[in-house]
C-alpha cells in the first residue's frame, strides 16, 4: 500500500473508530444524559417565560460583558486594588503551571494537608487536584456531583451538573462498592444523606477552602458564587484560608452589573429561577472563624484570589474567539443541543469544557487541535444562540475553529485525488468528506445533468462502497435523487404573469433547483396565485454547505456571487424569496460575517422565507382563496431548527391553519439530519438517535396516517428515512394545482 493509500485507510478507520466510540458512549450514558438535559431545557423555556423582559436582560448582560472584556486590563488593576484593600492578596497566573505552583505555596504556608473544594471548572482546567495530590495534599470535592466523579475517577460530562451521565442506580453501585455502607442506599435521599455525612467531616477537618467564582466585581472586590447545595458556603465558612480561582474573564465592573446575570444564569442553565444560594462575598469574610472550639476573630481569615490567564488574554485579541470570553458557563448551549442531548460531554467536549461553546474554550486554552475531536458535533443548527444569555454566536465560533483546523491540515494529503476537480479556495489537505459536502452544489449540478443515470450510479453497491470508503458517507443512507431538468429551466419556459401586483425574485437553492424541483414549482405557482411575478435568480448555492464544513473562504465566494446575482433584482424593488430555512439564515445572519455591511443589510432586510412571505401577502390583502383549500386534510408538520431560531415556524402554522388543514405540529425541535451531518459515517448513529423522538411522535395512532410536511430539505430526507413515508414541503400543499 502506498503512503497515501495507507493514510486514507487510517482516516477511514478513524472515522469508523469514531463512530464506534460515540456509539459506546451513547449506549452507556445516553439515557441519563437525554433525560436530564431535556429536563433542563424544558425548564429553561418555562423559567425565562416568567421574565418580564428576557430579551432586554440578555442584551444588558451582553453589553456588560462586551464592555468588561474591552477594558479588562484596567479592571484587573481595579479588582486587585479592591481585594488588597479588603485585606486579601491577588496573583495573576499566566498559565496552569504558574497557578498550581502558587496555590501549592499558599497551601504550604497555611500548613495545610487537606483542602475542601467547591465546584469550579477553572480548577478542572488547571488540574489543581492532581497537582496538590502529587504534593501529598488531600483534596476533597464537596459538590455532590463532583464528589461522585472524584470517587469514580471520571471527568465531568456537563458544565453545571458534572455527573449528569450517571443514573441513580449507578451511583448506588459505586458507593456500595467503594464504601460498603451499613445502610441501604436506594433512594436519592439515601444517597444524598450518605454523601453529606461523609463530606461533613472532610469539610470540618480541611485547612484550606478552595472555590471558583462565577463573577468578580472590580469596584468592590466581591465574588459571586452561584450554588444550590450550600457546599461553597460551608467550604468558605469552615476554613480559615480561602483560595478563589477564577479566569480573568469573570471580572465585571461593578456590583450592580451582577443583577442581570443572577437573574439569567439559573434560568438559562437548569431552568431554576434562581439557585438556592448566591453568595456575594467580599473576602476575607466577616464571619467568626469556625475551625477551633470557640468562635475566633474574623480578622484571622485569609483570602487569596488567583486570577488565570491561560490563553484568555490572547483570546481577547482574537476577533473570532473573543466572544467566548463572554460565556458564563450556564450550560444552555449544551442542554438545547440535540446532539449533546444524545451523546453528552464525554463525546461532545474536550479536556475540560463541554457542549457547543467548548470549542471556543478548548481552542483558546489549548489551541485548535484541542477542539478537533468534537467540533464537528456542532451542526450549526443555531438552536443554542437564542438560549445563550450573553448572545454568543456559538455556531460561528465552531465554524471558525473548523476552518482553522481545515487550514492546518496536512497540505499533501489527498491532493492527488482532488487537484483540479474541486474549484474551491480551500487548502489541499482538506478532509475529502468536508470537501465533498462543502461543494455539494457542484455535485448536484453534475448529478442533475446526468440524471437519471447519475442516480443509478449513486445507488449501485460499488458506488456506495466507494462513497463510504473515500468520503465517509454512511452506506445506510439513501443517496439524494437528482432531477433531470432544473427549476430554473422550467421557470424560463413559463409565460410571465399578466398585470402582476408585485415582482419577487426566488433564490432557488441547490436542492430546490436540482433535486426537489417540485417544491420550487409550487412556490412559483403559490406566489403567482397571490399576484406576484416570480423571477428566478441565476445562482443557487448560498454558501451554507461550505460554511457548515468550516470552509469560510468558499462560503464567502458563494455569498458574493449570490449578492451579485440578487443586486439588480433588489435594485428593481423585488423582494427575495427563499425556500430553504438554512439558506434564509445565511442571508439574514451569516452574511453579516461574509459580506460588507451595506450589502448584507440590503439583502438581509429584503429576504423572506416563502411561507413567511405568503403570510405577509395575505395580511396585506391578498386573497387566501387563491391557494389550495385544506379541507380538513390531516397534516403532521415539522418545522426546521433555523426556522425556529428565526421565529418563522408560526407563519407556516398560521397559513396551514387558516387554509383549513387539520394541523398537528412536532414537539421535537431537531430531526437530527442537520445538512450533511447525518450522512457522515461517524455521526449516522447520533443522527438516527436524535431523530428517534420525532419518529415516535409521527407514528402514534393519531399521527401515523397524517401527511408529513417539513420545511427543510434535511428534515425531509431524515423523515423520509425514519418514517418510510413520503414527505412534502408546506408550499406544495398550499399551492394551487397547475
Amino acid at each position: 500500500m502506498s503512503g497515501k493509500n495507507s493514510e486514507r485507510a487510517e482516516r477511514k478507520v478513524s472515522k469508523r473508530a469514531k463512530a464506534a466510540k460515540i456509539r459506546g458512549i451513547m449506549e452507556q450514558e445516553g439515557t441519563a444524559i437525554e433525560t436530564n438535559t431535556q429536563g433542563f431545557n424544558d425548564g429553561r423555556y418555562e423559567s425565562v417565560a416568567d421574565l418580564e423582559d428576557y430579551e432586554g436582560l440578555k442584551d444588558e448582560a451582553r453589553a456588560i460583558k462586551e464592555d468588561a472584556i474591552a477594558r479588562l486590563p484596567d479592571l484587573i488593576d481595579d479588582l486587585t486594588a479592591a481585594v488588597e484593600d479588603n485585606g486579601g492578596t491577588v496573583y495573576l497566573a499566566e498559565d496552569a503551571a504558574e497557578a498550581n505552583e502558587y496555590i501549592e505555596s499558599i497551601v504550604a504556608d497555611a500548613d495545610a494537608d487537606s483542602v475542601a473544594k467547591s465546584k469550579s471548572m477553572t480548577t478542572e482546567e488547571l488540574e489543581v487536584n492532581e497537582h496538590l495530590e502529587d504534593a501529598s495534599v488531600d483534596v476533597v470535592e464537596t459538590d455532590l456531583g463532583e464528589w461522585v466523579l472524584q470517587v469514580a475517577e471520571e471527568a465531568p460530562s456537563h458544565l453545571v451538573a458534572p455527573a449528569i451521565h450517571k443514573s441513580r442506580e449507578e451511583i448506588t453501585t459505586l458507593f456500595e462498592e467503594r464504601f460498603d455502607p451499613d445502610v441501604p442506599l436506594e433512594t436519592a435521599e439515601d444517597l444524598t444523606k450518605f454523601a453529606r455525612e461523609q463530606l461533613a467531616d472532610d469539610i470540618a477537618s480541611a485547612d484550606v477552602g478552595m472555590t471558583g467564582a462565577n463573577f468578580l466585581t472590580a469596584d468592590s472586590g466581591t465574588m459571586a458564587l452561584v450554588t444550590s447545595e450550600g457546599n461553597a458556603r460551608k467550604t468558605v465558612a469552615s476554613t480559615d484560608t480561602h483560595v478563589a480561582v477564577a479566569g480573568v474573564e469573570k471580572i465585571v465592573p461593578s456590583v450592580e452589573d451582577l443583577q442581570p446575570f443572577i437573574e439569567l444564569i439559573g434560568r438559562s442553565g437548569t431552568g431554576q429561577d434562581i439557585t438556592s444560594y448566591v453568595s456575594l462575598l467580599t473576602p476575607p469574610i466577616d464571619a467568626p472563624t469556625f475551625a477551633d472550639e470557640e468562635f475566633g476573630d474574623a480578622d484571622a481569615r485569609d483570602f487569596h484570589l488567583v486570577l488565570i490567564d491561560n490563553g484568555r488574554m490572547a483570546m481577547r485579541e482574537d476577533e473570532d474567539l473573543r466572544e467566548t470570553l463572554y460565556c458564563i458557563r450556564c450550560s444552555a448551549c449544551a442542554n438545547s443541543c440535540a446532539n449533546f442531548q444524545q451523546v453528552g460531554g464525554h463525546a461532545f467536549g474536550g479536556e475540560t469544557y463541554t457542549g457547543g461553546i467548548a470549542t471556543g474554550w478548548e481552542a483558546g486554552i489549548g489551541g485548535e487541535e484541542a477542539a478537533e475531536d468534537f467540533n464537528d458535533l456542532c451542526t450549526g443548527c443555531s438552536r443554542c444562540t437564542e438560549a445563550c444569555p450573553v448572545k454568543i454566536d456559538i455556531p460561528w465560533v465552531n465554524t471558525v475553529v473548523r476552518d482553522r483546523l481545515n487550514r492546518g491540515a496536512d497540505p499533501d494529503a489527498f491532493d492527488h485525488l482532488v487537484s483540479g476537480l474541486t474549484p474551491d479556495p480551500e487548502p489541499a489537505g482538506l478532509d475529502l468528506q468536508k470537501r465533498f459536502f462543502g461543494n455539494f452544489s457542484t455535485v448536484a449540478k453534475l448529478g442533475s445533468a446526468f440524471a437519471p443515470v447519475s442516480n443509478w450510479v449513486a445507488e449501485a453497491p460499488p458506488s456506495r462502497w466507494l462513497a463510504e470508503t473515500i468520503l465517509g458517507v454512511d452506506r445506510r443512507r439513501d443517496m439524494p435523487k437528482f432531477t433531470r431538468g432544473t427549476l430554473r429551466k422550467w421557470a424560463k419556459g413559463r409565460d410571465s404573469l399578466a398585470d402582476p401586483d408585485r415582482e419577487v425574485v426566488l433564490l432557488a437553492d441547490t436542492y430546490t433547483n436540482y433535486m426537489h424541483v417540485e417544491r420550487g414549482k409550487a412556490t412559483i405557482r403559490a406566489l403567482e396565485a397571490l399576484g406576484c411575478e416570480v423571477h428566478v435568480a441565476d445562482t443557487s448555492e448560498s454558501g451554507r454547505a461550505a460554511l457548515s464544513q468550516g470552509m469560510i473562504a468558499t462560503a464567502r465566494e458563494h455569498a458574493e456571487s449570490v449578492a451579485d446575482s440578487l443586486e439588480p433584482h433588489v435594485e428593481a424593488g423585488r423582494d427575495v424569496i427563499v425556500v430553504e430555512p438554512s439558506d434564509l439564515a445565511m442571508l439574514r445572519n451569516d452574511y453579516e460575517r461574509l459580506l460588507d455591511a451595506e450589502t448584507f443589510d440590503r439583502i438581509a432586510t429584503n429576504s423572506y422565507e416563502v411561507l413567511e412571505y405568503v403570510y405577509g401577502l395575505i395580511e396585506n390583502g391578498a386573497d387566501i382563496n387563491a391557494l389550495a383549500d385544506g379541507d380538513g386534510e390531516e397534516i403532521a408538520y415539522h418545522s426546521h431548527c433555523q426556522q425556529r431560531t428565526l421565529g418563522l415556524d408560526a407563519h407556516t402554522e398560521a397559513i396551514l391553519d387558516r387554509l383549513g388543514f387539520d394541523l398537528l405540529t412536532s414537539e421535537v425541535e431537531c430531526c437530527g439530519m442537520a445538512g450533511s451531518f447525518g450522512f457522515k459515517q461517524q455521526y449516522y448513529d447520533v443522527s438516527m438517535a436524535v431523530g428517534d423522538d420525532l419518529r415516535e411522535q409521527f407514528t402514534t395512532p393519531d399521527t401515523e396516517d397524517r401527511t408529513v410536511v417539513a420545511s427543510g430539505t434535511s428534515c425531509h430526507d431524515q423523515l423520509t428515512e425514519l418514517l418510510e413515508r413520503s414527505v412534502t414541503h408546506p408550499v406544495e400543499v398550499i399551492a394551487p394545482a397547475e
Binding site: 444524598t192 457546599n231 465558612a237 456590583v255 467580599t282 464571619a287 467568626p288
Partner: protein, 171 residues
Amino acid sequence: MPSTQAASLLERFVASLEEIDVAWSRTDANGFESTLESVLEEPAVGVPIPIDGASLPDTVETDLDPETVRAAATGVTPATIAVADYGSVLLESDANGSELASLFSETHVPVIREQDVVGTMADAFEDLGPLLRGDQGDVIVATGPSATSDMGALVTGVHGPTDVHVVIVEQ
C-alpha cells in the same frame, strides 16, 4: 398609596415563598417570641434580631460556639432584605456568627421586617452596591432550602438547611 403598595409587595413575597414550598409566619414585635416558640425545634441557636421589641425566646441559645452551631436543629438569624419576585432573603455575615447559624442548622428561620421587602432583584441591588463596596460586606441571597439533583432526583437538605421558615415582622 404606600400602604397598598407595601401590602402587595408582601403578597407577592409570600406567594413566591409558597411557590418554592417555604413556610412563613407574620407577626409583630409583641407576638414575635410566641411565634418563634411555635416554629422552632430544639436545640435552637440564634443571633440577636435588630428589631425594636423583638427578643428571642430563652430556649434559643445565643452564646454560640462551633459545636453548638453544628448540633442545632433550628437557627434564627436576621435577614436584611427580602425580594418579593423570588422569595429570596438576603443574609449578611457578621461577627455574631449569623452566617454559621443560618447554614449549619436543619431549619433556618430568617427574620425580616415587613418594610424591608422589595419587589425585584434590581431593587435589591440598589442597596447591595453600597453595602458591598462601602462595608466590604458579605451577603447570601438565599432562596429556599439547600438542594441538589446530583443523586438522580431533587433532594432538599444537602450541605445547608433542609427547611426554611421565614418570619415576617410588621411594625
